[in-house]
Symmetry: D2
Subunit: 325 residues, 4 copies
């Protein structure tokens, strides 16, 4: 066991914390050393994440081991920076932040963060000590646009996306009340979702002259897991050229697949995959993308980044059986 | 308009309050005079019950008219008695309590309550000044057993029921969080649901020697509206005799129907109906019953009781289009 | 009863047929004379539309009365024209076709059809003898754009819409299998939905110089009833000017409401309403619209058209209790 | 790779076939040699089981290798016996039949089948050459009753269970139409589910004098995966004695856990676990059990049986990440 990566989780009682626990418990190269939670201290993990019944006897702790190899920060947005200011890990401890504190280039003393989208910059991630893990909608939208931006072909984007309720977190709120959300659809943060900044940052890094807008309307869906986005952009290229462009771009990336048939959300639920499908009418290209917001959109991508940082095969511990139905 | 029944609602911001509003707004013989709510005072009804957009310009009030003809109490269980102690209506004002305060024979000075299950005692309801409206599971289970008890044939009952999330009310709680309840099933209050007392009271009134148990397991369902119950009882009678017994019993009751084919929950959702279906193997009779917990299980039955108390046709304002799907 | 409108339904076994039955059975000015269905001839209506248990003793017929006042054609797309060619009604019998055969100006000998969108041309409908009832997505999208087109302000449209499974009809198919559709999202007919033609026809009638595209991506939703569409268009007008424009346009229309707060799908499910809500960022206007695909999107609008054609109050029989949850 | 178990699947296009593929593809000790399907011959697996996009380039075949180490029969009930009569495998090839042909002691020339419920008879399974894999409801109900029957304490059982739509298979039928099943509950095969025979066979093997009935009412649930059963039995033992009895019985079984808190269905969805929870009022014991019908109720248990037959650790390839939400 000496060679295992010693990993800890800060904020392990929430949805991304729980999902990270689920992945790390069965990861062949990881020893889950601690799962910190102030609100649930002393309880067994399975008392909060009740699906873990029979899987582990770990308990939530308030204190934690600062000598671990890697720490996953699974806190509310805005809390990671505060936490790292008040708590110091060993300098060689790698940090993977699932919040949004460091995605736009912010740093703290001694730690610079690399934006952890492997399809954008896998090599940088391999060399990184600290990762800012992308947002769920940000990942979905970017994976639909990266090849175009890389080729300098991206214009104005009109995107609509729908997300499962787990994207809204564990906190009780009116929009996650079952009686309201079941069988319902609604829009929120129309044209001003907070992920637009990190999307814009990426697009401009690939296509420096990109001045257009990503017009994005997020919808709340009446399901629990998954994100589906359809984006419209103009393109003079033919559908087969575009399929080639996308296939080439993703050919070495094990989780993102360009599908030649129509896709649906449940193809990816409970997996770390992202599926991309292109359709074209006239000069309008439509890019459909789908992923699981808690996996490729959060904890799965975090573990993928960990694998890259520690020199493991990228897919280790992430070949997950889909729910399928 | 002088001849209209002037009706008010106390506690109009919750689920049963909202459903009572929906019914009374379109009731041809009712003028909805006030909808009281302490928590939502001053807001338009459609700000809370947002489906009422375009239907009414009424606002929630904190004060209310004590001279109305009928008041619906749509408060949390235990609050009706307190409210009626602190507030006095005109002596001729009829009270319909949707809570559970008066179902077991309790009264307050000047007001005795009649248990408002029309299929049990329509004539008493017609003469009543105050009604204790039955519980939702209580209505469903009783409508499956009344004919047997009336005939003195009821033995021990083994019942399982499933209810929609609206049965748990508007309050945010872990068991109504969408991420938890979607696609989920769970049991609660196993063999000790609070409605067992009113069920037992009714059964003993019909079959005085009834000493057996109603063993009832309630489940939380992953839908919003409706209750479905399957009850097993022993019976030596043939299925056709039993169907005759039930059909005769309900022949004059406009909302409860004995179906000769299998039933499903959505046949009754958004209606005031209760469907009953019988099956038999050996000496075991299974009675399936289904209704909408907010209508025949609450507000619809309350309006049905109002119709009876005021000498109206029992179905007035209650011929509702089902959702069907 | 002599003064009642005598109405018949051709193709009464499908979803829009059943919904039309539900509405007409309780319509105060209508006598439902026959419900024709070749596939279900001889069965009670409630054997097919099982929610009608206890509501009617009508049976499906194969023959039908050609002397009725109005006939609703609820057949598959393409079958209405064939049917009217092979069957002749009394010349004064009004026809309301819920299919798509006559929406684009087609006629048959002796019968010209008026496009039945009351918010577009209520006066023409009042004078019409035959109505081509609009499509469900077509109604939703048009009600979001009519005021802009009327004002000559409409540019290119980017719309995404999501529809319930009842929009796909009763026929068993892979995309309506519960195991597939539950918790799923998928796109179909991307940029080439068949309703685009009738939308375009309307927009050009209001804004003759309209040369832009309506880029529309339809999604299949994991719910049964309802349509929600978000459309992006450019506009130099302020949000308050636009709200005024829309409110003025719909001020005399009883079913379409401009909401000043965010809307959600379930506000309209099981009603004949359409809700419209506007949001604006920069020069991008987003119009959200929601309606029930079987009511305002089909059978409800058909009955609304009947009311107008027969000089009744437009809302007669259409003040429906929403499902709400 | 020489040491891997060479496995094939007959009938790989259905739900249990697909789920077996998902498990075997990632099983560390298995090489999936062929996936036979007459209806889908020549297609890639991911054209039918679309979640497999990117996971495998295998195609469905009509012919198959008769020299494999183990064959999973994933055919419709009644077809396995016919298939084995018409097709002969190497005598050392082990057969695991997921259908119901051999559960009640039937055999064919040269092959006797052991009932594959590890919690009942793990040692027999280890020695078996052919396995009759139990039914989904049969597994759920038995795992709730085995400890009582083993102790000779079982009396009459009153059980209600609810199952996901995948239990009804892939075939299009009215009861799996999304528009019907969504938000719906219905009973079927009341008191005469076909799994009662194998349940009875097991109970009598453990408690030879068992003469009582298992009165079982199955319900169709409005979700895709999972089974939840609540069973009522009489018991004079205390709850703590019963918890001890159950915990002792399952202490060496890695997938069946006795939970000391209330359980819900989603704790086990997408896992091979079964959870059991006991409650008691008076002399009535209620046993709640939950499992995933496609895993512990079908393909997962089949792979568990394969592990036992080949001397592998019982949990190999079956430590699955739950869907959780």
């Amino acid at each position: 066991m000496a060679n295992k990566i010693r990993a800890g989780i800060i904020g392990g009682a929430g949805y991304t914390g729980g999902e990270t626990v689920r992945l790390l418990l069965h990861h062949p190269n990881v020893e889950l050393t601690f799962v910190q939670s102030r609100s649930q201290e002393g309880k067994f993990l399975h008392e909060v994440h009740t699906d873990l019944q029979g899987d582990t006897v770990l308990k939530f702790t308030s204190s934690f081991d600062k000598e671990v190899d890697v720490v996953f920060l699974c806190m509310s947005h805005g809390e990671s920076k505060k936490f790292l200011t008040e708590n110091t890990f060993r300098s060689t401890t790698k940090i993977i932040d699932l919040g949004n504190d460091f995605r736009l280039g912010d740093s703290i003393t001694g730690r610079n963060f690399v934006y952890g989208l492997p399809e954008l910059q896998r090599d940088k991630i391999k060399m990184a000590d600290n990762i800012a893990n992308p947002g769920c909608f940000a990942t979905t939208i970017q994976l639909g646009l990266l090849p175009l931006a890389k080729a300098g072909l991206l214009g104005e984007v009109y995107a609509t996306g729908i997300t499962g309720s787990t994207g809204a977190g564990q906190k009780l709120q009116d929009t996650t009340h079952f009686s309201w959300r079941a069988n319902n659809i609604s829009a929120y943060k129309t044209l001003k979702h907070q992920h637009l900044s990190e999307i814009s940052q990426t697009l401009k890094s690939l296509q420096p002259n990109y001045q257009s807008d990503v017009n994005f309307i997020p919808w709340r869906g009446d399901f629990t897991r998954g994100i589906f986005v359809s984006s419209i952009v103009e393109s003079e290229k033919s559908l087969s050229e575009l399929n080639q462009l996308y296939s080439d771009f993703y050919s070495t990336h094990p989780f993102t697949h360009v599908a030649d048939s129509t896709i649906d959300l449940k193809q990816v639920v409970n997996t770390n995959k992202c599926l991309v499908h292109l359709e074209k009418e006239g000069n309008k290209l439509v890019v459909h993308t789908a992923l699981d917001n808690l996996l490729k959109g959060a904890s799965g991508q975090a573990v993928q980044n960990m694998n890259l940082m520690f020199g493991l095969e990228e897919t280790t511990g992430l070949k997950l059986k889909s729910t399928s139905f």
